[in-house]
Amino acid sequence: MESPPFSLEPPPLVPRRESGAGLPDPLSATAGEAVLNPDSRRNSFSVGRPPNSPSPLALMATGSPPARPQRYKVQPPDLASLDYIDTPAPQLICGICQSPYVLPVRLPCDHYFCKDCLSHHFATQDAGNKSCPMCRGKLDINQESLEVPKIMQDMLDALRVRCPNTRFGCSWEDERGNVRTHVMIYCKHSLVECPVAGCDLYCTQTDYGKGCLHYTVQCEKCQGSIYQSDVEILFLDMKKHMDSDCPNTVAACQGNIVGCKVAEIRKDVVAHERTCPMALMAPYFREQQTRLGLAEARIGPLERKVGLLERGLDSITYKLYPAKSRRGTLENLYSEDTTSVPSDSIPEFRLPDPSFPQWGSNDRATAPPPFDSQIDHLLTLHESLREEVSRIKMELNESEGRTNMLVFNENARIRDDMLHMSGALNNVRAQVHWMMSEKLRPSASSGGSTAAADSNKAASSNGNTRSGTQGASHSMAARTAAARLPPRRLSDSTRQETKL
């Protein structure tokens, strides 16, 4: 017993049988006691009662059906509907069914037909008026049919056919003469007689242990009924019915992906969807969702790629500037350098580092992060140079103003001094003039002018002394001096005259 085809669990559908009882199901006229539910997926169908279901225990007692195929009453193969592998010779084709003869009958006119085909033909004709379908020759129904040649039967038996259960999965192919043996004894896919007495239908061997499946089941929701055995074969169809067709199953509004909360039986939902704006938007959002999913699926590989590239870049940097890259990662570099920025309000201007695409350079650390291209770098350099130049220009202007002021102040002071000096000079002149006139009055000689020049010198060194006695001694000295240097004194006095 490889796989028990049924289970002994108590039938969970017992309360539902009430709803099935009202079904117009001719097969459920004789009510059975137990309902087998070997498969939980059938839970959504209410089940009508099989005509005479054996109890699970009774089925156990009969043993495991699939193990002993000879227990089955197998449905004999229908030779008339066999699938021939090669095209049979036209001489072997029955004129009525257009297939190779099955149990050929030879008419007196030497025309052949299948036994069944011929009886169908006779059924359409009047009782006393039977004729050959081919030549319309009169036939006596009581006449013994002629013997079919052995060679014809042999040729028919040698035709290659497929197993009639090919659609259930059998791949057997052989001569037609063996098909009956194959189907009746060997084929695992043969239809077998329903195990339940009173049911003369056939089921697949795998369904044999499930009891009679030849009763209608009803879709609980929409009251559409379907043969239980068909449900087994077409279960996917039934699932489809529940998923997309059944008007009474609960379904959600199309707009549920946008947030519509409506979920009712399908026919109401369909009506709702016509007015639901969210259902209208649903296709768009569904498309967006699929695109989002696609994009997310693509991000993963890209992230891996970026990681790979970053590692490659690190190793390249390390190879190029081993000293600098050894200091740590880029982030560390930046944070270190920003803390060490000088606090001067006017940073000292420096020429750019000649190796500008360098990653760990101090200059670059204060500047924004590395540039994409050298052109960018050059442009910013240019910009900073321009700023520097304008700053210098301003400083120059300032110092020029300062110097101007300085010069102006100095000038004014010097002029004051000059004025003072010339005032003093005038004073001296006036004194000298006075002294000269004093002297000229008593002597009125020609040497008066020379004596005045001498007394001028003496006045400046001694201060203003006007005593008559002193003046006499002075004039004596001046007379001797004038004798020594007469030309110079003359020119001096004339010069002073013109100046003042």
Binding site: A80, I96, S99, T124, M134
Partner: protein, 170 residues
Amino acid sequence: MSSVAKKRILKEYAECSNDLPSGMKVIFDEANLTKWDVVMEGPAESPYAVCLELAMCFDKRSLMHQGGHFKLEINFPNDYPFKPPVVNFKTKVYHPNVSNDDKGSMCLGMLRPEEWKPPNKVISVLHLIQNLLVEPNIDDAIETSIANDYKTNRAEFNKTAQDWVKRYAK
């Protein structure tokens, strides 16, 4: 419908899809095996083909010569193949063997119940119809006036037939 008939019709359809007479198409509905729709082109050598250029051109080899498109309906009786299929022209056609009414029925040769034999096949019926378009069967005519026309005034018959093709069988 009997299973014999069903099997036989399916077999014949498979055969027809393999070798149909030229200029014919069978439209077949699996849900309703008993009714076939056939579109048949008028044979070039018949008056049921028209020249697209000249009104009275009989150069059958011209590329501009085109058969009219005739719609036929084949209905299989329940006891097919013991009874003949019923053939009707759905397109009006000026032909002695096709009734000149809205049925367009044909009843001649093997299509007669007393002449039908179960071994006959639809494909031979289609061949018969194609041959009838080329050469009407005057002795079996259903429309005697058209048959007369055909017998006594062939030119007039050809002209009318072509007119009808232009009018109904484009």
